[in-house]
């Protein structure tokens, strides 16, 4: 980019353009036309480039201070952009590196793939909508909200149809919850496979969702919730994604949602309607939701019988493993990052549990031998991301950083060894193991597994 010259500027008066001899002469004999001419000539040559619109930079010698302070910057000396230049704002150009990314070689077709959230660059707990991870089974669409319908049928008194106009008139709630794909960190069951937290944990986001409680809709349709213990949620996309929801477990906090973080859902995340099933793996948060059917048994759909099942060492598959258990990860620093120098660092990360609230997070700097308890940032919400921070002074020697979360059921995040000993290493789903980041003396952080 061409460095701008300056407009709307104050030009510093030139100094020392008059020779000592002329000064003495004027002092002695006063000013006349000849001397005035000398003055004028001297001044004009002194301001030289100014006529071409360039500022004479203030001449500070090297070492007098930081050029970022001593030299005027473009944004101090020119007129900035108008309001609404960007009618829908976008991040700074300096944030261009933080985008959703695919993991090379993970899938063969981009319509049935994943784009991971860049957790290494996020703060706090909320995922910006443009960075919310994507996972589609048959591509995504911009559905027309005018023609979108939600049908509720099955074990209900009245099978009913709702338009978006109808749904958005109903009493709504706004709740902040994490959504995590059941296969998040699945690449790491067998061994370390990917370099950064974007790829190890990036099928994770957290938003404030707004919508109508599922219970309100089901009761409105006269659902038989005594016999009808299960709900089929169906998407309006090409895959017609169908998932069985366990109403005994999920009836109270499931939301039929149209909004994320204060605006309508993004099309990649189900616009105009999706199911929000707090604590349950993302695949059940059916996008482009078009139908809810109450029934008395699970449906055994393709994504409940061929995928999202977990292979155990004895050759059996666990079916309907849905809850995302307590998990945490340090995001700064994390794999692929480079620390600049020794000294103080705020070590920061995220913790979450599909069974409730985060109660505490411990952090180890020596590969799990000794632990210190981190600070939890408020608010600590149920089935939501909680941010933790801990102070650390790095002395420059190698270290292995880990975080270990505990939720309010008392469950403690396990090591990868504990998980593998029980479930083997071909399970793919529900890997909530403690993550290890190795920090080398050269400042590079890498993904390792310990034990």
């Amino acid at each position: 980019m061409e460095k701008s010259a300056h407009r709307a500027r104050l030009v510093k008066a030139p100094e020392h353009f008059v020779s000592q001899d002329l000064i003495a002469d004027i002092n002695a004999n006063g000013i006349d036309e000849t001397r005035r001419g000398f003055l004028r000539k001297g001044f004009l040559s002194a301001v030289g480039g100014a006529a071409a619109g360039l500022t004479a930079p203030m001449a500070f010698a090297v070492g007098e201070g930081d050029p970022a302070i001593l030299e005027k910057q473009e944004w101090q000396t020119t007129l900035g952009k108008n309001v609404a230049t960007m009618p829908y704002g976008v991040p700074s150009i300096y944030e261009a590196n933080l985008i959703r990314r695919e993991s090379p070689g993970l899938t063969r077709v981009a319509a049935s793939s994943v784009a991971f959230t860049p957790l290494q660059g996020l703060f706090g707990t909320i995922t910006p909508n443009g960075l919310h991870f994507e996972r589609h089974h048959q591509g995504w669409y911009n559905l027309n909200p005018e023609t979108h319908r939600l049908m509720v049928n099955g074990m209900v008194k009245n099978a009913r149809v709702f338009t978006m106009n109808d749904l958005m008139r109903l009493p709504s709630v706004s709740r902040t919850h994490f959504i995590e794909c059941g296969a998040n960190t699945g690449l790491e069951w067998g061994n370390v496979a990917v370099p950064t937290v974007q790829y190890t944990h990036g099928m994770l986001s957290c938003c404030e969702f707004t919508g109508v409680p599922l219970k309100v809709l089901l009761e409105e349709c006269g659902a038989d919730l005594k016999k009808g213990k299960f709900l089929l949620a169906e998407g309006g996309d090409g895959s017609g994604m169908t998932r069985t929801i366990n109403l005994e477990s999920c009836l109270e906090d499931t939301i039929v949602a149209w909004s994320m973080n204060g605006e309508m859902l993004r099309p990649e995340n189900g616009f105009p309607l999706r199911l929000v099933v707090p604590g349950v793996q993302g695949v059940s948060w059916v996008k482009w939701l078009r139908r809810l059917e109450v029934g008395d048994m699970p449906w055994n759909t393709k994504d409940e019988a061929v995928h999202y099942i977990e292979l155990m060492p004895n050759g059996m598959h666990r079916q309907y493993a849905s809850i995302q258990e307590c998990k945490s990860v340090i995001t700064t620093p994390s794999g692929g990052q480079q620390l600049l120098d020794k000294g103080f660092y705020n070590i920061s990360g995220m913790a979450w549990s599909g069974r409730g609230k985060i109660k505490r997070v411990d952090v180890s700097f020596d590969g799990g031998n000794n632990w210190r308890t981190a600070r939890l940032e408020t608010p600590v919400l149920t089935k939501s991301i909680t941010r933790f921070n801990i102070d650390w002074v790095w002395d420059g020697s190698p270290a292995i950083l880990q975080s270990r979360a505990v939720d309010d059921t008392g469950y403690i995040q396990p090591s990868i060894k504990v998980l593998r000993d029980l479930r083997g290493n071909r399970s793919i789903y529900h890997n909530n193991a403690i993550q290890s980041w190795k920090l080398d003396s050269n400042g590079e952080v890498s993904n390792v597994q310990v034990g």
């Binding site: 980019m1 338009t163 059917e293 048994m297 059996m316 003396s441 050269n442």
Partner: protein
Amino acid sequence: MSKLDKLFARLALLALAVFSSQLAYAQSSQGATQYSGIGRNATPAEVIAWDIDVRSDFKGLPKGSGSVEQGQAIWESKCASCHGVFGESNEIFTPIAGGTTVDDIKTGRVASLSDRKQPQRTTLMKVPTVSTLWDYIYRAMPWNAPRSLTPDETYALVAFILSLGEIVPDDFVLSNANIAEVQKKMPNRNGMTRNHGFWSVNGKPDVNGSSCMSNCIKFVQIGSTLPDFARNAHGNIAEQNRLYGPYRGADTTKPSMDKLPGSAGEGLAHAADTHAASTKGPAALFKNENCSACHAPNAKLVGPSIADIAAKYKDQNGAQEKLMAKVKNGGSGVWGAIPMPPQPQLSNEDRAILVRWVLTGQ
């Protein structure tokens, strides 16, 4: 409404069509219990149109039939390009057939799931129920044309897939009448367990971590790391992190640094330019650079309108260069008392784009 009613309704669909078309758009709140004026009852035809799921007890399965032979013909024209002629392809999706044996059909457990002889788990190694195949193919296949298959075509395709796993013979005709019998022969029908604590929020976890706080392990052993050859497999990590702040990305196009970069970050990768290449059109540039503060498209503001400038310089040789100089160095009040201030901040390229647009509209 029950699925049995649904089947009956399917037969009566024609009779219903006239009736329901009048009902469908009546925004009656009939059936509303608590929220008046919101929603309406679904018509039978609407429920039939959307409620296509098939459960493992075959509730929802439409009547029909299809043979392995018919299935093979459809398969080769609509499915083989992704899944391979024998369902063996691993090009686009994981293979559908393979890894199951005649013994598995007897036991209902796929032996290769535990003996690890099969490199990849195929659909037939996993799926416990025929209903799952029927439901999914009917709802979502072919991948680029979902909902284009008839029930009979779906029966035929399921029959063909089952024949690939030798679950049915090559002359088999699958129908709603015999599908439940076929389901009893699925190789992995006994291979699923729901005996775990992950189905309900109140379920019991299968493992638990340690609460140890000090001297927890004798020896830290690193069991797995990324091999050096994979250092750049996910692209340059430097370009996937902020270029400022305490946590930069390592330049994975180069070997690791020997020592710490130091507080200035010298030696670290810096993408030369984070600015997305500007592809803004001239009209946007005109607004962003505040030209529009003085120049409107057709009306005189402080300065002349774009239309007036274009008219004045129409067909003049050298107009482009002349105006580009004027924009850079300022004007002298050609159009009135107020001179145009110099605009030295514009790159030559941007000035050329702006002037060309003012003169030609292009």
